[in-house]
C-alpha cells in the first residue's frame, strides 16, 4: 500500500453534480446476524467508487441489497432520485447492472447469446413477434446483435462469439460478465471483485476497461480486495467493516487511516461493533463457508 495514488489516474469526473445512486440507512439482518448496518453511500455520475473491507464485511450483501436480490431490512436505495423496487429485474431495467463475485454466466450459452440476454430489458419483442418474425422483429434482432458485437469488441472477445461461456478461460469469463452487464445500458455498474484470481497483466487490462466504461458515461461501484487496484482507480473509496461503513473519502485519506489498517490487520478498534457481535459474525462466516455467498434467498 505504498503506491503513489496519482500516477495514471484518469482525469477527474466532469460531472459530479447528479447523484446516480443514493443508498441511505441500508441495513440487512439475517436472523440474529446483521450483515449490513445503516450504510449510506452515494455515487455521482461519472464516478468510480471503491468499496473495500475484510472478508465477510458485508460488501456482497450490500450489493445484493442495492440490486434487489435481497430486500434490505431497513433503508432505501434511490437511482437518479427514484426509489428502487426490490425486484432485481426492475433494478436492471432502471439502470443498475452488476457482476457476481463467483462468476455466474449462462454457462451453456454462447458468448454472444450471453450478451444478448443482457439486452433483454432494452428490447421489447414479445412472443408473438418472435412467432410471426415480421420485419420489425428481424431489425430488432439485428440491432441487438450489432450492439452485442460492439460490446464484445469493447471487451476484446470478438473472436470468441461462438464459444460456450463455460469454455472461456477465467479472465475472459470475467470480461464477458462485464460485457453482459453493459449490454443492459446501465447508468451504474456494480463490479464484485472483478480482478479476483487474475494475473497482473489481466488486472491492468481490467483497470483500463473500467476507465473506458467510465469514459462512456457509466458510473462504477467496485468491490475489490486488491488495494493497489482500488487506490489507483477510484475517485472515492468507502470502507466497510463488520457491516458498518468505517470511513469514506479519497484514496489518500483512506489509505492513511489507522482504523482501516487496523481492520485489515485484525486488531479490534475501540468503540466500533462490540466483540460479541464480531464473534457472531465470524461464527456465521465459518458456518457459511463453502456456501455460495451470492446466492440470495427467494424473495419477492
Amino acid at each position: 500500500m505504498t503506491t503513489t495514488t496519482t500516477t495514471g489516474r484518469a482525469p477527474a469526473p466532469r460531472d459530479t453534480g447528479g447523484a446516480v445512486l443514493e443508498a441511505s440507512g441500508v441495513t440487512m439482518r439475517f436472523g440474529g446476524l446483521t450483515a449490513v448496518r445503516d450504510v449510506d453511500l452515494t455515487v455521482r455520475a461519472g464516478e468510480i467508487v471503491g468499496l473495500i473491507g475484510p472478508n465477510g464485511a458485508g460488501k456482497t450483501t450490500f450489493f445484493n441489497c442495492l440490486t434487489g436480490l435481497y430486500i434490505p431490512t431497513e433503508g432505501t436505495v434511490r437511482y437518479r432520485g427514484t426509489v428502487l423496487p426490490h425486484r432485481s429485474h426492475l433494478v436492471t431495467q432502471a439502470g443498475i447492472a452488476r457482476t457476481f463475485q463467483n462468476i455466474r454466466l449462462f454457462a451453456n450459452m454462447t458468448v454472444l447469446e450471453n450478451v444478448l440476454v443482457g439486452r433483454h430489458t432494452r428490447t421489447s419483442e414479445g412472443l408473438f413477434s418472435a412467432l410471426l418474425r415480421g420485419p420489425r422483429f428481424r431489425k430488432a434482432e439485428r440491432d441487438s446483435e450489432d450492439r452485442a458485437m460492439e460490446l464484445l469488441d469493447f471487451t476484446g472477445l470478438t473472436d470468441k462469439r461462438d464459444h460456450l461461456a463455460r469454455n472461456l478461460p477465467y479472465g475472459e469469463q470475467r470480461k464477458l460478465e462485464i460485457a453482459r452487464a453493459l449490454a443492459s445500458e446501465p447508468g451504474l455498474l456494480l463490479l464484485d471483485e472483478p480482478t479476483a484470481g487474475m494475473t497482473a497483466v489481466e488486472t491492468t487490462a481490467t483497470r483500463e476497461l473500467v476507465l473506458a466504461i467510465r469514459e462512456q458515461g457509466t458510473a462504477v461501484l467496485v468491490i475489490e480486495h486488491d488495494m493497489r487496484f482500488i487506490f489507483n482507480l477510484c475517485d472515492r473509496v468507502a470502507v466497510l467493516v463488520q457491516g458498518q461503513k468505517l470511513i469514506e473519502g479519497s484514496p489518500e485519506t483512506v489509505q492513511m487511516d489507522d482504523r482501516v489498517i487496523a481492520a485489515y490487520l485484525g486488531t479490534p478498534f475501540e468503540g466500533e461493533p462490540g466483540e460479541a457481535e464480531a464473534a457472531e459474525v465470524r461464527a456465521a462466516e465459518a458456518h457459511s463457508t463453502g456456501t455460495d455467498a451470492d446466492q440470495p434467498e427467494e424473495g419477492n
Binding site: M109, E113, G118, H120, H163, L164
Partner: protein
C-alpha cells in the same frame, strides 16, 4: 505384442486422404504379430464374412413358413433375412470405405474400423437373434436350413475379422494402458470426429438431405410395418447397433452440418417425407399407430419447450392434453356431451387451446413460485387433480360435466368443407383411410408446434428461457422477469398440448379420465412424455419426436411383454443415462456439457463462421 502402433497405410493415395492421426491403436483381437498382415487378415475375414452372410440370405433359413416372415424360399430373402442382408451390404460398404476405395470414402469421414466393428456386431446380433428365435419358436436347431448356418458362420467370421483390425485412435498415453482384451475392445470402439468436408454444390447438399429424409421415412415405415414379435425385435437389434455404427463413422455429424446450413430445406424435406408416409401404408392398423405416434410426439415437443427450454420440470403435463381433449369432446356434438354443442372444428381447436391456456395460467400462477423438486411435486399433484376431478364430475359427486369414469364416447368424425375424415378417400390412386386422414390433419398441428418451438427458441424470449434454465438469479439480475417468462412458457406449452388434445379426442372417438394418468403402461402419460423428451434429447426439435416414436412403437409392437414394459424402460433409461446422458439427439450445448471435450464448439475457421452451428440472429422461415 500389440503395442506397435505405427500405421502403414496400404496405398499412398489413401494416406493423403487420412485427415487424422497416422498412428492407430492396438486391435482388440490381435491375429498376427505384424500389424500389416493383421490388417490384411482382418479385412479379408470381414469381407469374406459379409459375403458369406449375404449368400446365406439367398438360401432358406428354415423349412416352415410358420416362423413369421416366411424364411423358406431360395433367392427370395424376406422378413428377418432382409435385415441380415442390409447389415451385410452395409458391412461391405464400410469395409471398402475404410480401405480407402475411391467413391466410398465419404461413408467414413470419422471412425473407420470402429464403425465397421459395430456394423459387424449389428449383423451378428440380428442374425444370431433370428437363429435363436427360430430355435425357440419351432423347437430346436433341427429347424435350421443351410442358409441359417451360413449366415451364423458368416457373421461370426466378419466379427472376428473386424476385431483384428487396429483401433482408429492411437493407444492412449501411459497411465491408462489398454491391457486387457476388454480395454482394447472399448478402445477400438472410440472414433475420431469427422474432419471438414469438401464443399459440395448447394443442390447436391439439399439432395443429400432429401435422401436422408427418405431413408428416415423408409426406416420408420419398415419399423411400423414389421410384424409384432421377432421381426420387430430383429429390427430393434439392427437399429441399436447400426445407428451407432453410422454415428462412429461420423455421418450424423456431417448431416447435421448440412441441415444447419439448409434449415428451411431440411424442414421442408422432413415435412414432405412425413406427408408421404400414409401413401406407403395400406393397413389401417399401422396408420392408426402412426397418428398416435404423431400426437404423442407433438405433445412431447410441447413439453420440451417447458422442460428443455425454460427448465420447468412439469410432471403433470398430460393434464393439458386432457383439457384439450375434453373441451373438444364437449363442444363437438357427442350425444353424451353435457353441453350439447356442436361447433365447427376450427372453433373447437380454438376453444380447446384457450381453455388449456387458462388452465395453464391458473395452475402455473401459484406453482411457478416454487423451484426444483417442489415445483415438480406440485405439477404432479395438479395433473392428478385434473384426472380425479374429471372422474368426479359425474352427477353424483359433483355436477355432471364429464360423465365421470365413463368419459364421453361417440365423438363424431370431423367434417371439414364436406371432407369427412371418417371415410376413405382416393387420392392419386392411393386409398387414404380414416386414420390416414387424421394423420395428415395432425401433421399440420405438428408443423405448427415445430414452428412455434423453433421460432421462440431463437428469439429474445427463448434466450431468456434458456438463461432462466441456466441460472435464474443471474437471469433476473440481467433484467429478465423470471416469473413472467416461466409462466409464459408454461402457458404456451399448455396451449399447444390442448390443441393436440382436440385432435386426439376425434381420433380416438372418445375421451376417458383414465388416459391422462401420471404413469401408465401405454403412452401418452406424463411420465412417458418426460421420458420421450429426455430419451430423445432435451432442447432439440427432432429429439422428442424420435424419442416419442420409439416410446410409442416399442410397447405397441411388443404386446407380449406388456407386463415387463416399465421394467424394461427403466433399464433402458438407466443405460442411456450412463452412456449417452444428452439423449439420442444431442443438443449442441448438452453434448458439450456432458462430454467435456472443450474443442467441439471451437469454430474451425473464424472467417467462415461455425460450420455446424446455427448463427444467431439469422432468422429463417
Amino acid at each position: 505384442m500389440t503395442t506397435q502402433g505405427s500405421h502403414v497405410t496400404t496405398t499412398g493415395k489413401a494416406a493423403t486422404t487420412k485427415p487424422h492421426t497416422p498412428t492407430a491403436g492396438p486391435a482388440p483381437l490381435p491375429l498376427g504379430a505384424d500389424p500389416h498382415t493383421a490388417r490384411r487378415l482382418g479385412r479379408g475375414l470381414t469381407g469374406a464374412g459379409a459375403v458369406l452372410a449375404f449368400a446365406g440370405t439367398m438360401l432358406p433359413w428354415t423349412w416352415t413358413a410358420e416362423f413369421p416372415g416366411d424364411l423358406t424360399l431360395a433367392l427370395y430373402p424376406a422378413g428377418l433375412q432382409l435385415l441380415t442382408l442390409a447389415a451385410s451390404v452395409l458391412t461391405a460398404a464400410l469395409l471398402l470405405a475404410s480401405a480407402g476405395v475411391r467413391g466410398l470414402r465419404w461413408l467414413t469421414p470419422g471412425g473407420k474400423h470402429s464403425a465397421l466393428l459395430l456394423m459387424t456386431l449389428a449383423n451378428l446380433g440380428v442374425t444370431w437373434y433370428t437363429a435363436g428365435a427360430i430355435a425357440v419358436e419351432l423347437g430346436g436347431i433341427v429347424n435350421f436350413e443351410p442358409g441359417m448356418w451360413i449366415g451364423l458362420a458368416g457373421t461370426l467370421v466378419a466379427l472376428v475379422g473386424a476385431l483384428a483390425l487396429p483401433a482408429d485412435l492411437p493407444p492412449e498415453p501411459d497411465g491408462t494402458r489398454a491391457d486387457g482384451a476388454w480395454h482394447r475392445l472399448r478402445h477400438a470402439l472410440k472414433a475420431p470426429p469427422p474432419g471438414r468436408s469438401a464443399p459440395l454444390p448447394g443442390w447436391a447438399e439439399i439432395l443429400l438431405i432429401c435422401a436422408a429424409c427418405a431413408l428416415g421415412l423408409y426406416v420408420f415405415a419398415y419399423g411400423i410395418e414389421a410384424e409384432d414379435g421377432p421381426p420387430f425385435i430383429g429390427f430393434l437389434v439392427l437399429a441399436a447397433f447400426a445407428f451407432p455404427a453410422l454415428g462412429k463413422a461420423g455421418l450424423p455429424r456431417r448431416l447435421s452440418v448440412l441441415a444447419a446450413r439448409h434449415r428451411t430445406a431440411t424442414l421442408g424435406a422432413a415435412f414432405v417425407a412425413a406427408l408421404l408416409f400414409p401413401l406407403t401404408q395400406s393397413n389401417e392398423a399401422y396408420t392408426n399407430i402412426a397418428v398416435s405416434v404423431l400426437i404423442f410426439a407433438t405433445v412431447a415437443l410441447g413439453l420440451n419447450m417447458v422442460v428443455g427450454l425454460a427448465g420447468i420440470l412439469d410432471l403433470g403435463y398430460v393434464a393439458f392434453l386432457g383439457v384439450g381433449a375434453y373441451t373438444a369432446a364437449l363442444v363437438s356434438g357427442a350425444e353424451t356431451s353435457s353441453l350439447g354443442l356442436h361447433v365447427p372444428f376450427w372453433a373447437a381447436v380454438l376453444i380447446g387451446a384457450a381453455v388449456a391456456l387458462v388452465f395453464g395460467l391458473v395452475i402455473g400462477f401459484p406453482s411457478l413460485r416454487l423451484h426444483g423438486d417442489y415445483l415438480a411435486i406440485v405439477t404432479l399433484g395438479f395433473g392428478e387433480i385434473f384426472r380425479i376431478s374429471v372422474q368426479n364430475l359425474d352427477g353424483d359427486s359433483g355436477p355432471n360435466v364429464t360423465n365421470g369414469p365413463n368419459g364421453i364416447p361417440n365423438i363424431p368424425d370431423l367434417e371439414i368443407l364436406g371432407f369427412n375424415f371418417g371415410e376413405e378417400h382416393a387420392f392419386l390412386g392411393f386409398e387414404l383411410g380414416r386414420f390416414a386422414n387424421y394423420y395428415l390433419l395432425m401433421l399440420l398441428f405438428t408443423a405448427i408446434v415445430v414452428t412455434v418451438f423453433r421460432r421462440s427458441d431463437n428469439s429474445r424470449i427463448g434466450r431468456a428461457w434458456i438463461a432462466i434454465r441456466e441460472d435464474e438469479t443471474a437471469a433476473r439480475a440481467m433484467g429478465v422477469n423470471a416469473f413472467r417468462l416461466k409462466l409464459m412458457a408454461f402457458a404456451l406449452g399448455a396451449t399447444l398440448a390442448g390443441m393436440a388434445g382436440t385432435v386426439l379426442a376425434h381420433v380416438e372417438f372418445s375421451v376417458t379420465p383414465e388416459s391422462y394418468k401420471f404413469v401408465h403402461t401405454a403412452p401418452p402419460n406424463s411420465a412417458f412424455l418426460l421420458i420421450a423428451v429426455i430419451l430423445g434429447g432435451m432442447g432439440t426439435v427432432s429429439g422428442p419426436l424420435i424419442g416419442a416414436a420409439l416410446l410409442y412403437l416399442i410397447p405397441a409392437k411388443l404386446q407380449f411383454m406388456a407386463d415387463y414394459q416399465l421394467l424394461l424402460f427403466g433399464i433402458a433409461l438407466i443405460l442411456l443415462m450412463r452412456f449417452r446422458p444428452e439423449g439420442l439427439i444431442a443438443d449442441r450445448r448438452k453434448q458439450l456439457e456432458f462430454h467435456e471435450t472443450g474443442q467441439l464448439d471451437v469454430p474451425l475457421d473464424p472467417a467462415a463462421g461455425t460450420p455446424g452451428l446455427p448463427r444467431l440472429g439469422k432468422t429463417e422461415a
